[in-house]
Symmetry: C2
Subunit: 313 residues, 2 copies
Protein backbone atom coordinates (compact mmCIF):
# COMPACT_ATOMS: atom_id res chain seq x y z
CA UNK A 1 0.00 0.00 0.00
CA UNK A 2 1.33 3.43 -0.93
CA UNK A 3 1.97 6.10 1.68
CA UNK A 4 1.93 8.87 -0.94
CA UNK A 5 -0.47 11.74 -0.25
CA UNK A 6 -2.16 13.80 -2.96
CA UNK A 7 -2.89 17.51 -2.63
CA UNK A 8 -4.50 19.91 -5.10
CA UNK A 9 -4.38 23.69 -4.83
CA UNK A 10 -7.33 25.32 -6.60
CA UNK A 11 -6.07 28.67 -7.88
CA UNK A 12 -7.94 31.40 -9.73
CA UNK A 13 -6.43 30.29 -13.05
CA UNK A 14 -5.01 26.77 -12.50
CA UNK A 15 -5.44 23.65 -10.39
CA UNK A 16 -2.02 22.39 -9.29
CA UNK A 17 -1.88 18.82 -7.96
CA UNK A 18 1.08 17.12 -6.31
CA UNK A 19 1.85 13.73 -4.84
CA UNK A 20 4.19 13.88 -1.83
CA UNK A 21 6.12 11.16 -0.05
CA UNK A 22 6.45 10.62 3.71
CA UNK A 23 9.00 13.44 4.02
CA UNK A 24 6.84 15.93 2.15
CA UNK A 25 8.94 15.78 -1.04
CA UNK A 26 7.03 16.15 -4.33
CA UNK A 27 7.10 12.95 -6.42
CA UNK A 28 4.49 13.82 -9.08
CA UNK A 29 2.75 16.93 -10.35
CA UNK A 30 -0.28 17.72 -12.55
CA UNK A 31 -1.88 20.97 -13.74
CA UNK A 32 -5.22 21.87 -15.32
CA UNK A 33 -6.89 25.22 -16.01
CA UNK A 34 -9.45 26.07 -13.28
CA UNK A 35 -13.04 25.94 -14.60
CA UNK A 36 -15.25 28.78 -13.37
CA UNK A 37 -18.25 26.55 -12.74
CA UNK A 38 -18.93 24.04 -9.94
CA UNK A 39 -19.64 20.79 -11.85
CA UNK A 40 -16.67 21.34 -14.13
CA UNK A 41 -14.41 22.10 -11.16
CA UNK A 42 -15.30 18.78 -9.48
CA UNK A 43 -14.62 16.96 -12.77
CA UNK A 44 -11.24 18.68 -13.17
CA UNK A 45 -10.25 17.79 -9.61
CA UNK A 46 -11.20 14.15 -10.27
CA UNK A 47 -9.05 14.20 -13.44
CA UNK A 48 -6.03 15.57 -11.58
CA UNK A 49 -6.42 12.87 -8.90
CA UNK A 50 -6.61 10.22 -11.62
CA UNK A 51 -3.51 11.55 -13.36
CA UNK A 52 -1.48 11.65 -10.14
CA UNK A 53 -1.71 7.85 -9.73
CA UNK A 54 -2.15 5.91 -6.49
CA UNK A 55 -2.35 7.66 -3.14
CA UNK A 56 -3.28 7.00 0.51
CA UNK A 57 -5.07 10.30 1.09
CA UNK A 58 -6.45 13.22 -0.94
CA UNK A 59 -6.61 16.86 0.16
CA UNK A 60 -7.88 19.96 -1.65
CA UNK A 61 -6.96 23.55 -0.87
CA UNK A 62 -9.56 26.09 -1.99
CA UNK A 63 -9.38 29.90 -1.83
CA UNK A 64 -12.04 31.86 0.06
CA UNK A 65 -14.30 31.03 2.96
CA UNK A 66 -14.29 27.23 3.35
CA UNK A 67 -16.25 25.72 6.22
CA UNK A 68 -14.79 23.00 8.44
CA UNK A 69 -16.96 20.53 6.48
CA UNK A 70 -15.32 21.61 3.22
CA UNK A 71 -18.12 23.73 1.77
CA UNK A 72 -16.89 26.63 -0.38
CA UNK A 73 -19.13 29.51 0.75
CA UNK A 74 -17.64 32.11 -1.60
CA UNK A 75 -14.30 33.01 -3.09
CA UNK A 76 -13.06 36.23 -4.69
CA UNK A 77 -11.08 34.06 -7.16
CA UNK A 78 -14.00 31.79 -8.14
CA UNK A 79 -16.81 34.29 -8.47
CA UNK A 80 -19.26 32.01 -10.26
CA UNK A 81 -19.11 29.33 -7.57
CA UNK A 82 -21.17 29.79 -4.40
CA UNK A 83 -21.98 27.25 -1.67
CA UNK A 84 -20.30 24.32 -3.39
CA UNK A 85 -19.93 21.28 -1.11
CA UNK A 86 -16.53 20.26 -2.45
CA UNK A 87 -16.08 17.48 0.11
CA UNK A 88 -19.39 15.74 -0.61
CA UNK A 89 -19.31 16.22 -4.37
CA UNK A 90 -15.73 15.07 -4.91
CA UNK A 91 -15.99 12.20 -2.39
CA UNK A 92 -19.01 10.89 -4.31
CA UNK A 93 -17.35 11.33 -7.67
CA UNK A 94 -14.21 9.45 -6.54
CA UNK A 95 -16.02 7.08 -4.20
CA UNK A 96 -13.47 7.72 -1.45
CA UNK A 97 -12.84 10.09 1.39
CA UNK A 98 -11.23 13.46 0.72
CA UNK A 99 -10.43 16.52 2.89
CA UNK A 100 -10.89 20.17 1.96
CA UNK A 101 -9.31 23.23 3.58
CA UNK A 102 -8.54 26.87 2.89
CA UNK A 103 -5.63 27.27 0.46
CA UNK A 104 -3.69 29.72 2.64
CA UNK A 105 -4.17 27.52 5.72
CA UNK A 106 -2.76 24.63 3.65
CA UNK A 107 0.20 26.76 2.48
CA UNK A 108 0.87 27.68 6.11
CA UNK A 109 0.89 24.01 7.10
CA UNK A 110 3.39 23.25 4.31
CA UNK A 111 5.78 26.12 5.08
CA UNK A 112 5.56 25.23 8.78
CA UNK A 113 6.30 21.55 8.17
CA UNK A 114 8.90 21.55 5.38
CA UNK A 115 9.41 25.22 4.39
CA UNK A 116 10.58 28.54 5.77
CA UNK A 117 8.79 28.10 9.12
CA UNK A 118 10.08 24.64 10.03
CA UNK A 119 9.96 23.93 13.74
CA UNK A 120 8.50 27.29 14.80
CA UNK A 121 5.71 26.88 17.40
CA UNK A 122 4.26 30.38 16.97
CA UNK A 123 4.20 31.37 13.33
CA UNK A 124 2.14 33.63 11.10
CA UNK A 125 2.18 33.18 7.34
CA UNK A 126 1.09 36.14 5.24
CA UNK A 127 0.57 35.72 1.49
CA UNK A 128 0.98 38.98 -0.38
CA UNK A 129 -0.63 38.37 -3.77
CA UNK A 130 -3.49 40.11 -5.56
CA UNK A 131 -5.05 40.21 -2.08
CA UNK A 132 -3.68 39.16 1.31
CA UNK A 133 -4.37 35.86 3.02
CA UNK A 134 -2.46 33.69 5.42
CA UNK A 135 -2.53 31.34 8.32
CA UNK A 136 -1.64 30.99 11.97
CA UNK A 137 0.28 28.42 13.98
CA UNK A 138 -0.03 29.08 17.71
CA UNK A 139 1.33 27.12 20.65
CA UNK A 140 2.49 24.44 18.21
CA UNK A 141 -0.92 23.92 16.59
CA UNK A 142 -2.29 24.92 13.19
CA UNK A 143 -5.19 27.28 13.91
CA UNK A 144 -8.18 26.90 11.61
CA UNK A 145 -10.65 28.86 13.77
CA UNK A 146 -14.18 28.17 14.88
CA UNK A 147 -15.44 28.02 11.27
CA UNK A 148 -12.26 27.38 9.28
CA UNK A 149 -11.89 31.07 8.40
CA UNK A 150 -8.64 32.15 10.11
CA UNK A 151 -6.10 34.21 8.20
CA UNK A 152 -8.34 36.64 6.30
CA UNK A 153 -5.72 39.26 7.12
CA UNK A 154 -6.36 41.29 3.97
CA UNK A 155 -9.64 42.60 5.33
CA UNK A 156 -8.30 43.85 8.64
CA UNK A 157 -9.14 47.56 8.52
CA UNK A 158 -6.00 49.66 8.92
CA UNK A 159 -7.44 53.03 7.87
CA UNK A 160 -11.20 53.55 8.35
CA UNK A 161 -11.05 56.70 6.20
CA UNK A 162 -8.92 55.00 3.55
CA UNK A 163 -9.39 53.60 0.07
CA UNK A 164 -12.66 51.80 -0.70
CA UNK A 165 -12.34 48.02 -0.94
CA UNK A 166 -14.44 45.78 -3.24
CA UNK A 167 -15.54 44.00 -0.03
CA UNK A 168 -17.62 47.09 0.82
CA UNK A 169 -15.47 48.55 3.59
CA UNK A 170 -12.71 51.16 3.54
CA UNK A 171 -9.02 50.92 4.30
CA UNK A 172 -8.65 47.12 4.28
CA UNK A 173 -4.99 46.11 4.62
CA UNK A 174 -4.93 44.52 1.17
CA UNK A 175 -5.80 47.87 -0.45
CA UNK A 176 -2.22 48.92 0.44
CA UNK A 177 0.03 45.96 1.21
CA UNK A 178 -0.86 43.52 -1.59
CA UNK A 179 0.24 43.34 -5.23
CA UNK A 180 -2.74 45.45 -6.24
CA UNK A 181 -1.96 47.80 -3.34
CA UNK A 182 1.59 48.31 -4.62
CA UNK A 183 0.24 49.00 -8.12
CA UNK A 184 -2.28 51.47 -6.70
CA UNK A 185 0.37 53.33 -4.67
CA UNK A 186 2.54 53.44 -7.80
CA UNK A 187 -0.22 54.67 -10.11
CA UNK A 188 -1.16 57.43 -7.67
CA UNK A 189 2.47 58.60 -7.60
CA UNK A 190 2.81 58.20 -11.39
CA UNK A 191 -0.30 60.19 -12.20
CA UNK A 192 1.02 62.85 -9.80
CA UNK A 193 4.14 63.08 -11.99
CA UNK A 194 6.53 61.63 -9.40
CA UNK A 195 7.59 58.44 -11.23
CA UNK A 196 9.10 59.35 -14.61
CA UNK A 197 11.38 56.35 -14.86
CA UNK A 198 8.67 53.92 -13.76
CA UNK A 199 6.25 55.34 -16.33
CA UNK A 200 8.96 54.91 -19.00
CA UNK A 201 9.37 51.27 -18.01
CA UNK A 202 5.58 50.87 -18.20
CA UNK A 203 5.60 52.12 -21.83
CA UNK A 204 4.78 55.78 -21.18
CA UNK A 205 1.27 55.45 -19.68
CA UNK A 206 1.01 56.41 -16.00
CA UNK A 207 -2.27 54.50 -15.72
CA UNK A 208 -0.58 51.30 -16.95
CA UNK A 209 1.97 51.21 -14.12
CA UNK A 210 2.08 47.90 -12.27
CA UNK A 211 4.15 46.49 -9.41
CA UNK A 212 6.65 44.85 -11.77
CA UNK A 213 7.47 48.21 -13.35
CA UNK A 214 8.17 49.69 -9.93
CA UNK A 215 10.40 46.72 -9.11
CA UNK A 216 12.32 47.05 -12.38
CA UNK A 217 12.94 50.78 -11.87
CA UNK A 218 13.84 50.25 -8.20
CA UNK A 219 16.48 47.70 -9.21
CA UNK A 220 18.02 50.41 -11.40
CA UNK A 221 18.15 52.60 -8.27
CA UNK A 222 15.40 55.02 -9.32
CA UNK A 223 14.51 57.25 -6.36
CA UNK A 224 10.83 57.57 -7.22
CA UNK A 225 10.42 53.80 -7.42
CA UNK A 226 12.32 53.29 -4.16
CA UNK A 227 10.02 55.82 -2.45
CA UNK A 228 6.96 53.85 -3.59
CA UNK A 229 8.51 50.66 -2.28
CA UNK A 230 9.24 52.38 1.03
CA UNK A 231 5.60 53.47 1.29
CA UNK A 232 4.44 49.96 0.40
CA UNK A 233 6.83 48.49 2.99
CA UNK A 234 5.37 50.78 5.66
CA UNK A 235 1.90 49.38 4.98
CA UNK A 236 3.15 45.81 5.01
CA UNK A 237 4.94 46.48 8.32
CA UNK A 238 1.85 48.09 9.84
CA UNK A 239 -0.17 44.90 9.40
CA UNK A 240 2.68 42.69 10.59
CA UNK A 241 3.00 44.88 13.69
CA UNK A 242 -0.72 44.53 14.39
CA UNK A 243 -0.45 40.75 14.11
CA UNK A 244 2.63 40.78 16.36
CA UNK A 245 0.83 42.81 19.02
CA UNK A 246 -2.00 40.29 18.91
CA UNK A 247 -0.13 36.99 18.53
CA UNK A 248 3.56 37.49 19.36
CA UNK A 249 4.85 35.04 16.72
CA UNK A 250 8.50 33.95 16.62
CA UNK A 251 8.47 34.37 12.85
CA UNK A 252 6.52 35.56 9.86
CA UNK A 253 6.67 33.70 6.58
CA UNK A 254 5.86 36.02 3.69
CA UNK A 255 4.53 34.30 0.59
CA UNK A 256 2.51 35.09 -2.52
CA UNK A 257 3.60 36.79 -5.73
CA UNK A 258 5.24 39.68 -3.88
CA UNK A 259 7.72 37.27 -2.28
CA UNK A 260 9.55 37.39 -5.61
CA UNK A 261 10.68 40.95 -4.89
CA UNK A 262 12.01 39.88 -1.48
CA UNK A 263 15.41 41.53 -1.99
CA UNK A 264 13.72 44.91 -2.52
CA UNK A 265 11.22 44.74 0.33
CA UNK A 266 12.93 43.01 3.23
CA UNK A 267 15.05 45.92 4.51
CA UNK A 268 12.38 48.63 4.38
CA UNK A 269 9.78 46.28 5.91
CA UNK A 270 12.21 45.52 8.78
CA UNK A 271 12.91 49.23 9.30
CA UNK A 272 9.25 50.22 9.41
CA UNK A 273 8.46 47.23 11.62
CA UNK A 274 10.88 48.49 14.27
CA UNK A 275 9.42 51.97 13.93
CA UNK A 276 5.84 50.83 14.40
CA UNK A 277 6.12 48.00 16.95
CA UNK A 278 4.98 48.55 20.54
CA UNK A 279 8.00 48.69 22.90
CA UNK A 280 10.48 47.70 20.16
CA UNK A 281 13.57 47.84 22.40
CA UNK A 282 12.15 45.64 25.15
CA UNK A 283 11.39 42.53 23.14
CA UNK A 284 12.80 40.13 20.58
CA UNK A 285 11.42 40.82 17.11
CA UNK A 286 9.89 38.07 15.01
CA UNK A 287 12.06 36.81 12.18
CA UNK A 288 10.89 37.77 8.68
CA UNK A 289 11.38 34.92 6.24
CA UNK A 290 10.22 34.52 2.68
CA UNK A 291 8.31 31.39 1.71
CA UNK A 292 10.43 28.55 0.33
CA UNK A 293 7.90 26.33 -1.41
CA UNK A 294 6.74 28.81 -4.05
CA UNK A 295 3.59 28.03 -6.00
CA UNK A 296 3.53 24.46 -4.70
CA UNK A 297 3.01 25.43 -1.03
CA UNK A 298 -0.80 25.19 -1.20
CA UNK A 299 -0.81 21.78 -2.90
CA UNK A 300 1.84 20.31 -0.59
CA UNK A 301 -0.08 21.64 2.41
CA UNK A 302 -3.39 20.28 1.09
CA UNK A 303 -1.76 16.83 0.93
CA UNK A 304 -0.48 17.20 4.52
CA UNK A 305 -3.84 18.54 5.73
CA UNK A 306 -5.58 15.45 4.37
CA UNK A 307 -2.91 13.18 5.83
CA UNK A 308 -3.60 14.61 9.28
CA UNK A 309 -7.33 14.04 8.93
CA UNK A 310 -7.40 10.69 7.16
CA UNK A 311 -4.83 8.86 9.26
CA UNK A 312 -6.32 5.80 10.99
CA UNK A 313 -6.92 6.67 14.68
Amino acid sequence: MTSARAGIDVGGTKCLGVLIDEDGAVIAEERRPTPQQGDALIETLAEVVGALGTMATIGIGVPGLITLDGVLKASPNLRMIIDLDVTERLSERLDRRISVGNDATCATLAEWTVGAGRGVSDLVMVTLGTGIGGGVVAAGHLVVGANGFTGEFGHMVVDPHGLPCPCGRRGCWERYASGSGLAQLARTAAVGGRLRRVVDVAGGDAHAVRGEHVQAAAREGDDGALAVIDDFARWVALGLVNLTNALDPAAFVLGGGLAEGADLYLDPIQRWFEELLYSPRLRPHPALAFAELGERAGAIGAAMYAGDRQRPA
Copy 2:
Protein backbone atom coordinates in the same frame (compact mmCIF):
# COMPACT_ATOMS: atom_id res chain seq x y z
CA MET B 1 -1.76 18.11 51.63
CA THR B 2 -3.91 20.94 50.30
CA SER B 3 -4.93 21.16 46.67
CA ALA B 4 -5.71 24.89 47.00
CA ARG B 5 -3.98 27.14 44.44
CA ALA B 6 -3.02 30.76 45.15
CA GLY B 7 -3.11 33.52 42.54
CA ILE B 8 -2.29 37.20 42.84
CA ASP B 9 -3.23 39.84 40.30
CA VAL B 10 -0.88 42.84 40.43
CA GLY B 11 -2.94 45.87 39.44
CA GLY B 12 -1.88 49.48 39.05
CA THR B 13 -3.37 50.36 42.44
CA LYS B 14 -3.94 47.06 44.31
CA CYS B 15 -2.64 43.51 44.56
CA LEU B 16 -5.59 41.12 44.76
CA GLY B 17 -4.84 37.59 45.96
CA VAL B 18 -7.18 34.60 45.97
CA LEU B 19 -7.06 30.97 46.98
CA ILE B 20 -9.12 28.69 44.73
CA ASP B 21 -10.23 25.12 45.18
CA GLU B 22 -10.11 22.31 42.61
CA ASP B 23 -13.21 23.65 40.84
CA GLY B 24 -11.82 27.17 40.58
CA ALA B 25 -14.08 28.56 43.32
CA VAL B 26 -12.59 31.31 45.51
CA ILE B 27 -12.10 30.18 49.12
CA ALA B 28 -9.97 33.07 50.46
CA GLU B 29 -9.09 36.60 49.38
CA GLU B 30 -6.50 39.25 50.36
CA ARG B 31 -5.78 42.79 49.14
CA ARG B 32 -2.85 45.19 49.54
CA PRO B 33 -2.03 48.51 47.86
CA THR B 34 0.48 48.03 45.00
CA PRO B 35 3.88 49.56 45.84
CA GLN B 36 5.51 51.42 42.94
CA GLN B 37 8.97 50.04 43.59
CA GLY B 38 10.42 46.56 42.90
CA ASP B 39 11.68 45.48 46.36
CA ALA B 40 8.49 46.64 48.05
CA LEU B 41 6.36 44.85 45.43
CA ILE B 42 8.11 41.53 46.10
CA GLU B 43 7.58 42.04 49.84
CA THR B 44 3.89 42.83 49.37
CA LEU B 45 3.40 39.71 47.22
CA ALA B 46 5.08 37.61 49.93
CA GLU B 47 2.75 39.14 52.53
CA VAL B 48 -0.34 38.32 50.47
CA VAL B 49 0.85 34.72 50.03
CA GLY B 50 1.40 34.46 53.80
CA ALA B 51 -2.04 35.85 54.58
CA LEU B 52 -3.79 33.46 52.14
CA GLY B 53 -2.68 30.41 54.16
CA THR B 54 -1.55 27.04 52.81
CA MET B 55 -1.49 26.31 49.08
CA ALA B 56 -0.15 23.76 46.61
CA THR B 57 0.92 26.27 43.94
CA ILE B 58 1.43 30.04 43.60
CA GLY B 59 0.87 32.13 40.48
CA ILE B 60 1.27 35.84 39.88
CA GLY B 61 -0.38 37.88 37.09
CA VAL B 62 1.50 41.06 36.19
CA PRO B 63 0.49 43.77 33.71
CA GLY B 64 2.79 44.66 30.81
CA LEU B 65 5.40 42.74 28.87
CA ILE B 66 6.26 39.64 30.94
CA THR B 67 8.73 37.16 29.48
CA LEU B 68 8.11 33.42 29.56
CA ASP B 69 10.61 33.26 32.47
CA GLY B 70 8.52 35.74 34.45
CA VAL B 71 10.64 38.86 34.03
CA LEU B 72 8.63 42.09 34.02
CA LYS B 73 10.23 44.06 31.16
CA ALA B 74 8.03 47.14 31.51
CA SER B 75 4.47 47.99 32.37
CA PRO B 76 2.42 51.12 31.70
CA ASN B 77 0.77 50.58 35.12
CA LEU B 78 4.02 50.16 37.08
CA ARG B 79 6.18 52.87 35.56
CA MET B 80 8.93 52.82 38.18
CA ILE B 81 9.58 49.10 37.77
CA ILE B 82 11.74 47.93 34.83
CA ASP B 83 13.32 44.52 34.21
CA LEU B 84 12.20 42.99 37.50
CA ASP B 85 12.72 39.22 37.66
CA VAL B 86 9.54 38.52 39.60
CA THR B 87 9.94 34.74 39.38
CA GLU B 88 13.47 34.63 40.76
CA ARG B 89 12.99 37.32 43.39
CA LEU B 90 9.73 35.98 44.82
CA SER B 91 10.83 32.31 44.63
CA GLU B 92 13.90 33.21 46.69
CA ARG B 93 11.90 35.25 49.17
CA LEU B 94 9.37 32.42 49.70
CA ASP B 95 11.85 29.60 49.20
CA ARG B 96 9.44 27.80 46.87
CA ARG B 97 8.53 27.65 43.23
CA ILE B 98 6.17 30.26 41.79
CA SER B 99 4.87 31.03 38.26
CA VAL B 100 4.43 34.44 36.68
CA GLY B 101 2.34 35.38 33.65
CA ASN B 102 0.72 38.36 31.98
CA ASP B 103 -2.38 39.53 33.86
CA ALA B 104 -4.65 39.57 30.79
CA THR B 105 -3.45 36.12 29.74
CA CYS B 106 -4.34 34.92 33.24
CA ALA B 107 -7.77 36.58 33.07
CA THR B 108 -8.34 34.87 29.71
CA LEU B 109 -7.46 31.49 31.21
CA ALA B 110 -9.93 32.10 34.07
CA GLU B 111 -12.84 33.24 31.87
CA TRP B 112 -12.14 30.32 29.51
CA THR B 113 -12.08 27.77 32.33
CA VAL B 114 -14.82 28.92 34.72
CA GLY B 115 -16.20 32.18 33.26
CA ALA B 116 -17.98 33.55 30.20
CA GLY B 117 -15.87 31.54 27.72
CA ARG B 118 -16.31 28.09 29.28
CA GLY B 119 -15.71 25.29 26.81
CA VAL B 120 -14.97 27.47 23.78
CA SER B 121 -11.96 26.17 21.78
CA ASP B 122 -11.37 29.39 19.85
CA LEU B 123 -11.82 32.41 22.06
CA VAL B 124 -10.50 35.97 22.23
CA MET B 125 -10.75 37.95 25.44
CA VAL B 126 -10.52 41.73 25.16
CA THR B 127 -10.22 43.85 28.30
CA LEU B 128 -11.50 47.37 27.78
CA GLY B 129 -10.07 49.37 30.67
CA THR B 130 -7.82 52.43 30.76
CA GLY B 131 -6.06 50.70 27.87
CA ILE B 132 -6.88 47.50 25.98
CA GLY B 133 -5.34 44.11 26.63
CA GLY B 134 -6.52 40.57 26.27
CA GLY B 135 -5.66 37.02 25.44
CA VAL B 136 -6.17 34.28 22.89
CA VAL B 137 -7.32 30.68 23.07
CA ALA B 138 -6.85 28.93 19.73
CA ALA B 139 -7.50 25.34 18.75
CA GLY B 140 -8.21 24.56 22.41
CA HIS B 141 -4.93 25.94 23.74
CA LEU B 142 -4.09 29.11 25.67
CA VAL B 143 -1.75 31.09 23.40
CA VAL B 144 1.06 32.91 25.20
CA GLY B 145 3.18 33.58 22.11
CA ALA B 146 6.87 33.18 21.38
CA ASN B 147 7.83 35.58 24.18
CA GLY B 148 4.75 35.62 26.39
CA PHE B 149 3.48 38.85 24.81
CA THR B 150 0.21 37.88 23.07
CA GLY B 151 -2.86 40.03 23.49
CA GLU B 152 -1.37 43.56 23.27
CA PHE B 153 -4.45 44.42 21.21
CA GLY B 154 -4.53 48.05 22.37
CA HIS B 155 -1.54 48.94 20.21
CA MET B 156 -2.86 47.51 16.97
CA VAL B 157 -2.88 50.57 14.70
CA VAL B 158 -6.38 51.18 13.34
CA ASP B 159 -5.80 54.69 11.94
CA PRO B 160 -2.24 55.63 10.94
CA HIS B 161 -3.25 59.30 10.67
CA GLY B 162 -5.15 59.18 13.97
CA LEU B 163 -4.66 60.41 17.53
CA PRO B 164 -1.14 60.27 18.97
CA CYS B 165 -0.62 57.48 21.55
CA PRO B 166 1.76 57.71 24.55
CA CYS B 167 3.48 54.64 23.07
CA GLY B 168 4.87 56.89 20.32
CA ARG B 169 2.67 55.79 17.42
CA ARG B 170 -0.60 57.17 16.07
CA GLY B 171 -4.07 55.67 15.92
CA CYS B 172 -3.59 52.75 18.31
CA TRP B 173 -6.88 50.96 18.97
CA GLU B 174 -6.87 51.90 22.66
CA ARG B 175 -6.91 55.61 21.78
CA TYR B 176 -10.54 55.04 20.71
CA ALA B 177 -12.00 51.84 22.12
CA SER B 178 -10.81 51.95 25.77
CA GLY B 179 -12.11 53.81 28.80
CA SER B 180 -9.78 56.71 28.03
CA GLY B 181 -10.83 56.50 24.38
CA LEU B 182 -14.50 56.89 25.34
CA ALA B 183 -13.62 59.86 27.54
CA GLN B 184 -11.61 61.42 24.69
CA LEU B 185 -14.44 60.95 22.17
CA ALA B 186 -16.83 62.49 24.72
CA ARG B 187 -14.60 65.49 25.52
CA THR B 188 -14.13 66.25 21.83
CA ALA B 189 -17.90 66.27 21.34
CA ALA B 190 -18.45 68.23 24.58
CA VAL B 191 -15.92 70.94 23.72
CA GLY B 192 -17.60 71.16 20.31
CA GLY B 193 -20.86 71.98 22.12
CA ARG B 194 -22.65 68.76 21.17
CA LEU B 195 -23.13 67.26 24.65
CA ARG B 196 -25.08 69.71 26.84
CA ARG B 197 -26.65 67.09 29.07
CA VAL B 198 -23.38 65.19 29.54
CA VAL B 199 -21.55 68.40 30.47
CA ASP B 200 -24.29 69.13 33.04
CA VAL B 201 -23.79 65.67 34.56
CA ALA B 202 -20.03 66.37 34.66
CA GLY B 203 -20.62 69.53 36.69
CA GLY B 204 -20.61 72.06 33.87
CA ASP B 205 -17.01 71.70 32.62
CA ALA B 206 -16.68 70.18 29.14
CA HIS B 207 -13.04 69.30 29.83
CA ALA B 208 -14.05 67.29 32.92
CA VAL B 209 -16.28 64.88 30.96
CA ARG B 210 -15.50 61.21 31.58
CA GLY B 211 -16.96 57.91 30.41
CA GLU B 212 -19.23 57.57 33.45
CA HIS B 213 -20.92 60.92 32.67
CA VAL B 214 -21.63 59.73 29.12
CA GLN B 215 -23.07 56.49 30.51
CA ALA B 216 -25.28 58.34 33.01
CA ALA B 217 -26.68 60.70 30.34
CA ALA B 218 -27.13 57.81 27.87
CA ARG B 219 -29.20 55.93 30.45
CA GLU B 220 -31.49 58.99 30.60
CA GLY B 221 -31.88 58.66 26.83
CA ASP B 222 -29.82 61.75 25.92
CA ASP B 223 -29.21 61.77 22.13
CA GLY B 224 -25.77 63.37 22.34
CA ALA B 225 -24.54 60.76 24.81
CA LEU B 226 -26.01 57.94 22.72
CA ALA B 227 -24.20 59.29 19.64
CA VAL B 228 -20.88 59.22 21.51
CA ILE B 229 -21.57 55.64 22.60
CA ASP B 230 -22.39 54.71 19.01
CA ASP B 231 -19.08 56.20 17.84
CA PHE B 232 -17.25 54.36 20.61
CA ALA B 233 -19.03 51.11 19.71
CA ARG B 234 -17.91 51.51 16.09
CA TRP B 235 -14.27 51.67 17.20
CA VAL B 236 -14.70 48.66 19.50
CA ALA B 237 -16.33 46.72 16.65
CA LEU B 238 -13.57 47.68 14.21
CA GLY B 239 -10.92 46.01 16.36
CA LEU B 240 -13.11 42.96 17.04
CA VAL B 241 -13.65 42.62 13.29
CA ASN B 242 -9.91 42.75 12.66
CA LEU B 243 -9.35 40.03 15.25
CA THR B 244 -12.18 37.97 13.71
CA ASN B 245 -10.66 38.23 10.24
CA ALA B 246 -7.36 37.04 11.68
CA LEU B 247 -8.47 34.38 14.17
CA ASP B 248 -12.10 33.41 13.50
CA PRO B 249 -13.01 32.93 17.18
CA ALA B 250 -16.31 31.35 18.23
CA ALA B 251 -16.68 34.01 20.91
CA PHE B 252 -15.29 37.21 22.34
CA VAL B 253 -15.29 37.80 26.07
CA LEU B 254 -15.24 41.52 26.83
CA GLY B 255 -13.81 42.46 30.21
CA GLY B 256 -12.28 45.44 31.98
CA GLY B 257 -13.98 48.46 33.51
CA LEU B 258 -16.07 49.11 30.40
CA ALA B 259 -17.82 45.76 30.84
CA GLU B 260 -19.90 47.51 33.51
CA GLY B 261 -21.72 49.49 30.83
CA ALA B 262 -22.50 46.28 28.94
CA ASP B 263 -26.21 47.06 28.59
CA LEU B 264 -25.37 50.31 26.76
CA TYR B 265 -22.67 48.97 24.45
CA LEU B 266 -23.71 45.50 23.40
CA ASP B 267 -26.33 46.40 20.77
CA PRO B 268 -24.34 49.12 18.99
CA ILE B 269 -21.18 46.98 19.03
CA GLN B 270 -23.13 44.09 17.46
CA ARG B 271 -24.60 46.40 14.82
CA TRP B 272 -21.24 47.88 13.82
CA PHE B 273 -19.65 44.45 13.90
CA GLU B 274 -22.08 43.21 11.24
CA GLU B 275 -21.46 46.36 9.23
CA LEU B 276 -17.68 46.01 9.27
CA LEU B 277 -17.14 42.23 9.06
CA TYR B 278 -15.85 40.68 5.84
CA SER B 279 -18.63 38.64 4.14
CA PRO B 280 -21.03 39.03 7.08
CA ARG B 281 -23.88 37.05 5.51
CA LEU B 282 -21.79 34.02 4.60
CA ARG B 283 -20.51 33.10 8.05
CA PRO B 284 -21.56 32.55 11.64
CA HIS B 285 -20.67 35.55 13.80
CA PRO B 286 -18.71 35.14 17.03
CA ALA B 287 -20.76 35.46 20.20
CA LEU B 288 -20.13 38.61 22.23
CA ALA B 289 -20.16 37.88 25.95
CA PHE B 290 -19.23 40.04 28.89
CA ALA B 291 -16.73 38.73 31.42
CA GLU B 292 -18.27 36.96 34.43
CA LEU B 293 -15.47 36.94 36.98
CA GLY B 294 -15.12 40.72 37.41
CA GLU B 295 -12.04 42.04 39.15
CA ARG B 296 -11.07 38.55 40.35
CA ALA B 297 -10.48 37.13 36.86
CA GLY B 298 -6.75 37.92 36.83
CA ALA B 299 -6.12 36.42 40.27
CA ILE B 300 -8.17 33.28 39.60
CA GLY B 301 -6.36 32.85 36.28
CA ALA B 302 -2.95 33.38 37.89
CA ALA B 303 -3.77 30.54 40.28
CA MET B 304 -4.81 28.30 37.36
CA TYR B 305 -1.75 29.31 35.31
CA ALA B 306 0.52 28.23 38.15
CA GLY B 307 -1.44 25.02 38.66
CA ASP B 308 -0.83 24.09 35.01
CA ARG B 309 2.90 24.73 35.35
CA GLN B 310 3.58 23.33 38.82
CA ARG B 311 1.65 20.09 38.51
CA PRO B 312 3.93 17.06 38.97
CA ALA B 313 4.66 15.56 35.53
